[in-house]
């Protein structure tokens, strides 16, 4: 069982409304950051995936979609992808020197008729920290939905 460290307290503070973004990254989730991470980690593990595999798949669509120059483009026959950039860059609440562009990647799975939208910051959150944002956050990504829509392959033990 992970413990909420002082460092995590600081990160959770950075995730509050109005610090980095207007709405923050936690929504109305009152749990400690460590519990949010633990809960999503369990979900992903039970689905026999890893955060890295999910982030890799997101990155794949982000890169493929860029070729559409801001319009939807067909990727691998079953997907339509659009990468839209809006003005600005954001730092990560987890720290580090990087800034992340405000690019929205929309992936539509044509077979399932379902879409997900994620940002560059999400790819970093998930790949580097296993963070999908708190419940009630407008930008929260549900791991199960991501796995389904992006068709993230099972990771063999």
């Amino acid at each position: 069982m992970m413990k909420q460290t002082v460092e995590f307290d600081k990160i959770q503070q950075q995730m509050q409304k109005g610090v980095i973004t207007l709405n923050g990254f936690l929504g109305d989730d009152k749990r400690k950051l460590v519990d949010i991470l633990e809960s999503d980690n369990l979900t992903v593990k039970n689905l026999r995936r890893t955060h890295e595999a999910i982030a890799d798949r997101m990155e794949y669509f982000r890169k493929s979609g860029t070729e559409g120059l801001g319009e939807f483009i067909t990727v691998d026959e079953n997907f339509e992808v659009k990468v839209e950039t809006v003005r600005g860059m954001l730092p990560s609440p987890f720290g580090g020197k990087g800034m992340y562009g405000k690019a929205n990647t929309t992936v539509r799975n044509k077979k399932l008729d379902k879409s997900v939208v994620f940002t560059d910051l999400h790819i970093h959150f998930i790949g580097d920290h296993g963070f999908y944002e708190g419940k009630g956050s407008p930008f929260r990504l549900e791991p199960e939905e991501l796995i389904t829509v992006l068709e993230v392959p099972v990771v063999e033990e």
Binding site: L22, L69, G70, E71, P91
Partner: protein, 368 residues
């Protein structure tokens, strides 16, 4: 035992009250910087403001508007100002946005830099022309499934003086996605000749605070505050051929430039390459064809990257970069004006270089 407990509680309460009083005194003295002066452009304008607040906010309250797209959160990097006197050390929140060259010129991020003493700043003269306008939404129409045209009638002041290609900032009031007012930048699509109106083309961005407001809440008759004009994306006065490239809501400044050319009788050869995925993403075709009729040297070239069967499309097919590569032949004698996402702009610059357009003749409004 009880007496000891009561005494302890009393002592703790007294200490708490003492600390609270100390905090109030500290807030009123240490944190109170009093009235400070902001001298702008060698004293051509002097302001007196309450100290301790961000420079961006202090200027804004005095009617001096610095462009900012993130509402002062330090995430857009747009609100740069030279602080030539009274500046201190850079804050960590400023550094990602400031280059070494800018550091030498004392460029600061005005939303992060707090005015704690008298300061002297330098801003572009044209920012003195920026005003705040009260407007009424005169009309809203769907241009495509995800782009709306919003036409604003200016009330106070009733006229705006802008160049074709410039942008304004749109104030989003508090609503379900934001509990404070925020600003977002949009290019004007209207002709600068129509000084009483501002037209915007706004594409819905998933979860976007402003775009969601415009697409789901804004109604005709609503009152909206804007400020502007801003930007140096406007037509240069040369006799070079003009290549316009923009898709989606990037059409706004290009349309404004074309309307301006038509009004002023500018007869330079001009081609507008408009990229979309399929026919449902094209818009204002009739307006563009009408401009072709009025301007014999202008041609509008829409191209679809993935036309659908039902589109029955017999126009250009491919990414807009491919179409430009195929069709532009006199690059060396051309100027290019681009509007779109960084990826689109970068791809276009590469192609324009291939066809011989000189870097100094490429102008763009990057959405970043």
């Amino acid at each position: 035992m009880i007496v000891t407990l009561l005494i302890s509680i009393g002592i703790i309460s007294l200490i708490s009250v003492f600390l609270a009083i100390l905090l109030v005194i500290a807030d009123a003295t240490i944190g109170n910087y009093g009235v400070v002066k902001i001298s702008i452009n060698d004293g051509s304008k002097e302001l007196e403001v309450q100290g301790g607040q961000p420079l961006l906010k202090a200027l804004n309250q005095e009617g001096v508007f610095i462009p900012s797209a993130c509402g002062g959160r330090g995430s857009c990097g747009m609100c740069k100002v030279r602080v030539v006197g009274g500046g201190g050390d850079y804050l960590p929140t400023e550094l990602p946005w400031i280059s070494d060259e800018e550091k030498e010129k004392n460029v600061r991020l005005s939303c992060q830099f707090k005015v704690k003493q008298d300061v002297a700043i330098v801003i572009p003269e044209e920012l003195f022309l920026v005003k705040e306008f009260k407007t009424t939404v005169e009309s809203i129409r769907d241009l495509t499934h995800d782009i709306k045209e919003v036409r604003l009638r200016l009330k106070e002041p009733a006229e705006i003086s802008a160049k074709a290609g410039q942008y304004i900032q749109f104030e989003v009031p508090e609503y379900e996605l934001t509990d404070e007012r925020v600003y977002r930048a949009y290019s004007m699509a209207s002709s600068p000749d129509d000084k009483n109106h501002v037209e915007l083309e706004i594409r819905l961005v998933p979860n976007g605070i402003c775009t969601t407001y415009v697409h789901q809440h804004l109604k005709e008759g609503d009152e909206i505050i804007i400020n502007g004009p801003y930007g140096d994306f406007f037509l240069r006065e040369t006799d070079k051929h003009i290549i316009f490239i923009a898709g989606g809501s990037g059409m706004a400044p290009i349309k404004s430039m074309l309307l301006d050319m038509e009004k002023k009788g500018i007869t330079r050869k001009a081609s507008y390459f408009f990229g979309a995925r399929s026919k449902r993403d094209l818009f204002l075709l009739d307006e563009m064809r009408a401009l072709e009729e009025k301007m014999p040297n202008f041609s509008f070239i829409p191209a679809l990257s993935e036309p659908q069967e039902e589109d029955n499309w017999d126009g250009e097919v491919g990414l807009i970069t491919d179409v430009v590569r195929r069709m532009v032949s006199e690059g060396a004698n051309s100027e290019a004006y681009l509007c779109g996402s960084p990826g689109m702009i970068d791809a276009c610059i590469k192609v324009l270089d291939e066809v011989g357009v000189l870097p100094e003749n490429i102008f763009y409004d990057k959405f970043s």
